[in-house]
């Protein structure tokens, strides 16, 4: 009998509200330590939390985007435990009555199969501060303390590392579409915990372990593969899987036991008496639903209507940033297919060379539109277009000027090109014979020679036509 792997994911995502979840301090990454702090988020005696409605709204917005039911009655509870980064010694979270329940996401695997991953809940809570370990001891930065987080808990519906990663990518993409989080893994604004167990076909679910410290999709992929193999090995050797939390060591490529269930904490959850239960009315939910931006499926359908293939439409809507950029370029240059081809080929090539968090399109829609227009109208050729695109990506602007300064204006002068080609034809009788004999590949040789002779400026289509005319 073969082994099944069963995976559930808990994703923490920081919401990009202006202020923290329970006080008026700035929600900003990277500021000087302990500058975005007040009596509330440093747990000064007597301070009280006041709920940030914007955080509630963003959590509900995400819930609506993934088809959750929004609870009309929602309660904040205290999760009590001691840790220096948690200054109140309890985290304000939700247990019995989360904001959103149910819902789910459809994922698509490499081979095109689709699968629906159900969600258990989405709840709102606050982030803790950050410990900074240094030679002089451990220091605490409370800037992150009290930043609103949503925890998105899936059902154990995934059965492979690939499915888990596909789910995470889809979830991240959805968060970005909804615009409630910037999802930067390196800044910790999106974090993953994996619950994993293995069992044989037809047998009940196995004992699960929880994996922590997964900071990238690649880490998730590797950790799940490692852990599932480890569990199978344990069971095949006649040992047991212990219910425990395990830490992924990315450098060693292994998981290590952090704590077992026996020494797990009793969080003594109870409703926070400082925060009154939330009365989430249907009217309120509807008013939030109206703010829901167009998500990928809707945009994909629109783009297909513009003439994009399904594959292209899928690619360009894979992230909101791409779709937004695509639409922005169209505003200046309304050639959907042409624009899409450039983005999915050239822009994606640039982005894929970057780390996930750094994938930012560094050209303006106006400049790209202008460049593509020059290209389409034949004022520059593809090689010229690429050169301008590279320059734009490096921070240059104004494609029209770049055509001049880089000397990329396409040579469309029939007379001048004829003169160049006549010399090439005279110098290469063998190639002329081959072309005449019907070897079309030889045409590439002539185009190449013409480009060399014109420093890449020759209009390739014109070269093509002229060669045929001249050897007739």
């Amino acid at each position: 009998m073969s082994w099944n792997t069963v995976i559930g994911l808990e994703v923490h995502s920081e919401l990009n509200t202006k202020t923290k979840c329970f006080c008026g301090c700035k929600n900003e990454f990277g500021d000087k330590p302990n500058t975005n702090c007040c009596p509330v988020c440093t747990a000064m005696p007597g301070s009280l939390p006041v709920l940030n409605r914007d955080a509630v709204e963003r959590a509900i917005l995400m819930g609506l985007a993934v088809g959750c039911r929004i609870n009309n009655y929602s309660v904040f509870e205290r999760k009590n435990y001691f840790y220096p980064d948690l200054c109140k010694a309890y985290q304000i979270s939700q247990l019995e009555y989360p904001l959103c329940v149910g819902g789910g996401l459809e994922i698509e695997l490499e081979d095109g199969t689709k699968k629906f991953i159900r969600l258990d809940r989405i709840h709102l809570e606050e982030d803790a501060g950050k410990l900074i370990h240094s030679r002089n001891g451990t220091m605490i930065d409370y800037n992150r303390g009290g930043v609103p987080l949503i925890e998105i808990v899936s059902k154990p519906d995934m059965n492979s590392a690939e499915e888990a990663v596909a789910y995470l990518q889809k979830l991240r993409s959805t968060l970005l579409y909804v615009g409630v989080s910037d999802c930067k893994m390196q800044e910790g604004s999106i974090r993953f915990d994996v619950n994993i167990s293995v069992n044989r076909d037809g047998e009940p679910l196995g004992t699960r372990t929880e994996l922590k410290n997964l900071n990238s999709f690649r880490a998730v992929l590797r950790a799940i593969k490692y852990e599932s193999a480890r569990q199978i090995e344990e069971l095949e050797a006649g040992r047991k899987v212990i219910q425990e939390t395990r830490r992924w060591d990315d450098a060693k490529g292994k998981t290590y036991s952090m704590r077992t269930k026996e020494d797990s904490q009793d969080y003594r959850y109870f409703p926070d008496p400082d925060l009154i239960p939330l009365d989430v009315t249907e009217e309120y939910i509807e008013s939030i639903r109206k703010k829901l931006p167009k998500l990928a499926p809707e945009r994909k359908a629109e783009y297909q209507k513009m003439g994009l293939t399904e594959q292209d439409a899928t690619l360009i809507t894979s992230e909101r940033a791409y779709a937004d950029f695509f639409e922005a370029v169209l505003k200046y240059f309304n050639e959907p297919k042409f624009v899409c081809n450039w983005i999915t080929a050239e822009v994606f090539k640039k982005l894929n060379a970057l780390e996930e968090d750094d994938r930012k399109i560094s050209v303006t829609p106006q400049d790209l539109a202008k460049m593509l227009e020059l290209y389409k109208n034949g004022e520059i050729n593809q090689a010229g277009a690429r050169k301008i695109f590279d320059a734009l990506w490096e921070g240059e602007t104004d494609p029209v000027r770049l055509v001049e300064t880089l000397g990329l204006k396409q040579l469309n002068d029939t007379g001048a090109l004829k003169a160049v080609l006549e010399k090439i034809i005279a110098d290469n009788p063998k190639a002329v014979a081959e072309l005449k004999a019907g070897n079309e590949k030889t045409m590439a040789f002539f185009v190449g020679q013409a480009m060399r002779a014109t420093q890449g400026k020759a209009n390739p289509k014109l070269v093509n036509d002229l060669v045929r005319e001249l050897i007739k």
Binding site: M44, P45, G46, L48, N80, C87, A89, Y90, R268
Partner: protein, 480 residues
């Protein structure tokens, strides 16, 4: 003592009329504080700062500018109320060195009305206690008889007002901590409706039960003080949006035609004869003056104390977890790691009663016990609350003794926790129900010890309590 015998209301008029300056008042307060230092009512005093502020206020007044309703009046805050730059110790060793980095809303409101904070009052550690013997800085003594307790936990707040060290103070009340010491010391104290006064900046004991209230020597003073500190606060989500009425507008209307409910459960054979006879006389006075006394029932009220110890301890355990030695307060020396730091700091920093409540609170919240204790207590709380609402539907307010006996001797109940907890049987149910209640003096026993009666009102109907209390007080004024 020239001015300290005057009431708050009277002294405000004298300040306004220029008969006395704020500087003179502050000076007199500090003379008196020094004379009565053995009462141990105060944890910190701010003579220099108070004099400077008094001088500034006198000058402002001298220019004919507005100085606020309480302009230049010396007041005292309980030592669990933050006031920027003052020590806020909660009478705990743990916070011995803690200086408030901000000001509580109630203190800010007093400040904005022109009051001068001259001192912080001693209390039971973290407001846990009924005798003020749980202070890390020693017990407060009853100013009427210094061999007796002043009550707690706002013992210092009651003592300082009775001993004429100031004109009013603020206390906090989670299960009787304003009313019981008011009763023992013979002053007027109110536990307002839950949500009436902002809790922002008041160090939490049990967040769902805590309320701030004033302690004064007259009912009218109290009404005035509450009108200043009451009201919605954007910093406290549990503060009520209900408008604050003018507590003085109906205060002199008398009791004719009012209905006063007498809950049979509060008139048991546990009352000391002196308390019983004082209450009987008070009730008789109300009847004679046109009020109708109606019998009411609070059948489940005897469960309130159990409910209180479950809920308040659970919340306290969580609220006091922040005192971990990491950020502020006293950090133990010679710790091995962070867990040891927590363990030693908390072991050394907290007193016995606080530790007892933390253990109890964590127990009732722990997995496997939550439903049997915390959840059940919250359910019973609803029943008690409903019983109060039903009883109050039949009348304008309820009357009861504040405590079953007058002030007991220092040390008398120190080792009998249950007897100590039982001191609060008449006050605790009020916090469980969230309704307002006021304690006012209604006589003395054969040894001259004050006896207090409690008036319990409908949600946000403090005005009725002041009206009913004021009528009695005016008729029974013996000098001042």
């Amino acid at each position: 003592m020239k001015y300290l015998d005057y009431s708050l209301t009277e002294i405000i008029e004298k300040l306004k009329g220029g008969e006395v300056t704020s500087v003179e008042l502050v000076k007199e307060c500090f003379e008196r504080i020094k004379e009565t230092a053995d009462l141990n009512a105060l944890n910190s005093t701010y003579e220099k700062e108070a004099l400077a502020r008094a001088k500034a206020i006198d000058e402002t007044r001298g220019r004919g500018e507005d100085v606020g309703v309480l302009g230049g009046v010396p007041v005292v805050l309980k030592d669990n109320i933050n006031y920027l730059g003052t020590r806020t110790t909660c009478a705990s060793k743990f916070l011995e060195n803690f200086i408030s980095p901000y000001t509580a809303t109630c203190a800010q409101k007093l400040h904005d009305a022109g009051a001068i904070v001259i001192a912080k009052a001693n209390m039971d550690e973290f407001a846990m206690g009924s005798s003020n013997e749980n202070s890390a800085f020693g017990p407060v003594k009853n100013p009427v008889d210094n061999t007796r307790v002043p009550g707690g936990s706002s013992g210092g707040s009651a003592c300082t007002v009775k001993a004429r060290q100031c004109f009013m103070s603020l206390g906090t009340d989670t299960g009787g901590s304003i009313r019981e010491p008011s009763s023992f010391c013979g002053v007027v104290g109110i536990k307002p409706t839950y949500g009436r006064v902002s809790r922002y900046g008041v160090v939490a004991f049990a967040s769902s039960l805590d309320q701030v209230g004033p302690l004064t020597r007259t009912v009218r003073d109290n009404a005035l003080a509450l009108s200043i500190i009451a009201g919605a606060d954007p910093m406290d989500m549990t503060s009520s949006q209900t408008e604050v009425p003018n507590y003085l507008s109906d205060i002199d209307k008398g009791v004719k035609g009012l209905k006063i409910g007498m809950p049979s459960q509060f008139f048991t054979d546990k009352l000391s004869p002196s308390v019983r006879s004082s209450l009987d006389k008070a009730i008789e006075w109300y009847r004679e003056n046109g009020a109708e006394i109606v019998p009411v029932e609070l059948p489940s009220v005897d469960t309130a104390l159990a409910v209180y110890y479950v809920i308040s301890s659970a919340e306290a355990a969580s609220n006091l977890a922040r005192f971990d030695g990491v950020k502020y307060g006293v950090r133990a020396e010679n710790y091995e790691d962070v867990v040891d730091l927590y363990f030693k700091s908390r072991t050394q920093g907290f007193g016995k009663e606080v530790k007892r409540r933390i253990m109890l609170g964590n127990y009732v919240l722990s997995s496997g016990y939550y439903d049997a204790f915390y959840r059940k207590a919250k359910r019973v709380q609803k029943v008690i609350r409903q019983e109060f609402l039903s009883a109050l539907e039949k009348c304008d307010c309820l009357i009861s003794p504040t405590t079953a006996t007058p002030a007991f001797k220092l040390g008398e109940k120190a080792n009998d926790h249950v007897a100590m907890y039982l001191t609060d049987i008449f006050t605790v149910p009020v916090n469980i129900a969230g309704v307002p209640a006021l304690s006012l003096p209604c006589g003395v026993d054969e040894e001259g010890l004050p006896i207090g009666m409690q008036l319990i009102g409908k949600h946000f109907d403090e005005a009725m309590l002041y009206r009913v209390a004021n009528a009695f007080e005016l008729a029974h004024k013996e000098g001042k």
